[in-house]
């Protein structure tokens, strides 16, 4: 396994303020405007923990990730991320987000995309080094200068992961980040990400459709099951398995 971590003294993460709970959610209603998709009474994610969320499509898993990332305003309730209460922004580069659609700049090269993340989370001096090691960990060194639009779906997914790893965030939010990957590549990506999460005490929340895979990767698996036909009804329950 390729070791992503630099010596602890050089890690950007360790210069950040230590928070005992990376994500803390209380009475959160997730949704758009005043229609609620999901209700979470209490949820905490600690450093070094991997939390997987699964459930039927359209139930609000992606919206929950977006709310935690500060991209979607909560209908009600409080969300604390890396010590900041949303809508307040946490420290720059604290959150690494891999959207379902990846969010890569299609016309830019692999290097430029990964550097975007690396610059967000690291100092100017270390950003190139971190970008290089993340691209190497994802096995994309040979494609470093290729534009994203010439890469396959799986390769693009690896670039998005590399961008987040290069950023050295305190919290990783990943939305179906393993889809389109073959078994071997998927294992490589998972190992690299988990290695980083464990070695740097980073929290990770991932949305995964495949329950068995989610169970394999995560420390805690949350199954969102509304049990009703209309998913817009409040009090959607979260069950801990």
């Amino acid at each position: 396994m390729i070791n992503l971590g630099l010596p602890k003294s050089q890690k950007r993460y360790h210069t950040r303020k230590y928070v005992p709970t990376v994500v803390e959610i209380r009475n959160l209603e997730v949704g758009f405007h005043n229609s609620t998709l999901l209700f979470i009474e209490n949820l905490q994610v600690k450093p070094g923990e991997v939390l997987a969320i699964t459930g039927p499509s359209g139930i609000g898993k992606t919206s929950l990730l977006k709310t935690i990332a500060g991209l979607l305003k909560p209908v009600s309730g409080t969300v604390q991320v890396c010590g900041a209460t949303i809508p307040q922004r946490p420290e720059r580069g604290s959150i690494g987000y891999i959207p379902q659609k990846l969010g890569l700049v299609r016309h830019s090269s692999v290097w430029s995309n990964v550097m975007l993340g690396s610059r967000a989370g690291n100092s100017r001096a270390t950003s190139r080094e971190h970008a290089y090691s993340a691209i190497e960990a994802m096995g994309l060194i040979e494609k470093k200068n290729e534009p994203i639009k010439r890469l396959s779906g799986g390769q693009q997914r690896r670039v998005a992961t590399a961008r987040t790893l290069a950023q050295r965030p305190q919290l990783i939010l990943a939305d179906e980040f393993l889809s389109e990957l073959d078994e071997e590549t998927s294992e490589r990506v998972v190992n690299s990400v988990l290695n980083y999460v464990r070695s740097s005490d980073v929290a990770m929340i991932l949305v995964e459709h495949d329950v068995s895979r989610a169970r394999e990767i995560s420390d805690r698996l949350l199954v969102i099951d509304d049990g009703r036909l209309n998913p817009f009804i409040t009090d959607t329950s979260i069950m801990e398995v």
């Binding site: 720059r92 580069g93 659609k101 299609r106 830019s108 993340g117």
Partner: protein, 283 residues
């Protein structure tokens, strides 16, 4: 013989067809079938004396001088307009900035677009006097209005995922603009700038009428003396030049489409209306 790609070959063929067609029409109407007075506009002016060789005598004509000035005005106006409109386009994008930034910015862009370039030309002729400087300023302002709108629409229409990822990372607006938006919409921005140049050449022929430089100045002059043959000749030359620029612009823009590997125009597509032009089956 080096291999020329299909699109370039078609461009060269269509440009040659246009130029040969024009040359034949010129010969037929210069005494061969009909002796038309209009072509005096491509003869060298009597003063200053033309020092070019026999084949380049036409470069001393009013049609050539006026057309080149129009093209120069269009190039500069597009260049300055692009530089000014890009920040305006970014500031007007609702997916990037809050309403208290986008509204004033959009108002400025709309104000620039609300008057046609000929009115701007009149204003600048009054402000800075007759000549191409007034033309450049007028068309720059209009370009900001027109290009700014096209740019913010392109930016707002872009895929939201890169913006979401960048916002979650905590990148600044300047970093998002330079690192995400401009590369992601570059093809649109370049294609729009080329289109704007083509548009500016066309509208640049008009602004000369109010004294803002270019070929319009000569058209206005001959109109005043009721010499309609010469005016007709200028219009034919403008038509030819605009067609040539259209062809080149479409060819250039084809390099900046999202799937530039397989989207290139055919020359028949440029010359014929879309209903008549039937696409060739894939080889």
């Amino acid at each position: 013989m080096p291999e020329i790609d299909r699109e370039l070959r078609e461009l060269l063929v269509s440009v040659s067809v246009l130029l040969v067609g024009f040359w034949i029409a010129l010969k037929l109407t210069s005494g061969l079938v009909w002796d038309w007075n209009g072509w005096s506009v491509i003869e060298p002016q009597s003063y200053p004396i033309c020092e070019e060789n026999r084949f380049l005598q036409f470069t001393c004509s009013t049609a050539w001088i006026g057309m080149i000035e129009t093209i120069k005005i269009a190039i500069l106006a597009t260049f300055f307009g692009m530089i000014l409109s890009l920040p305006m386009g970014l500031l007007s994008s609702r997916n990037l900035f809050p309403q208290y930034v986008t509204y004033p910015s959009r108002t400025i862009v709309s104000a620039c677009r609300s008057l046609p370039s000929i009115i701007w030309a009149i204003i600048f002729v009054i402000l800075v006097g007759l000549g191409p400087i007034a033309g450049i300023m007028a068309m720059t302002i209009y370009t900001v209005g027109y290009l700014g709108k096209m740019q913010y629409e392109a930016i707002e229409g872009m895929n939201n995922a890169p913006l979401e990822a960048a916002n979650a990372m905590g990148l600044t607006k300047a970093e998002i603009s330079l690192g995400v938006i401009i590369p992601e919409t570059a093809n649109h921005l370049i294609a729009q700038a080329i289109f704007m140049f083509e548009y500016n050449v066309r509208s640049g022929t008009v602004i000369g009428i109010v004294g803002a430089g270019g070929i319009g100045y000569y058209i206005n002059l001959y109109l005043k003396f009721l010499q309609y043959d010469e005016v007709g000749a200028y219009l034919l030359i403008i038509f030819l030049v605009v067609m040539l620029i259209d062809l080149m612009s479409i060819y250039l823009r084809s390099f900046f489409t999202d799937d530039s590997d397989n989207t290139k125009p055919t020359w028949s597509g440029v010359l014929l209306p879309s209903r008549i032009n039937v696409e060739k089956p894939l080889e």
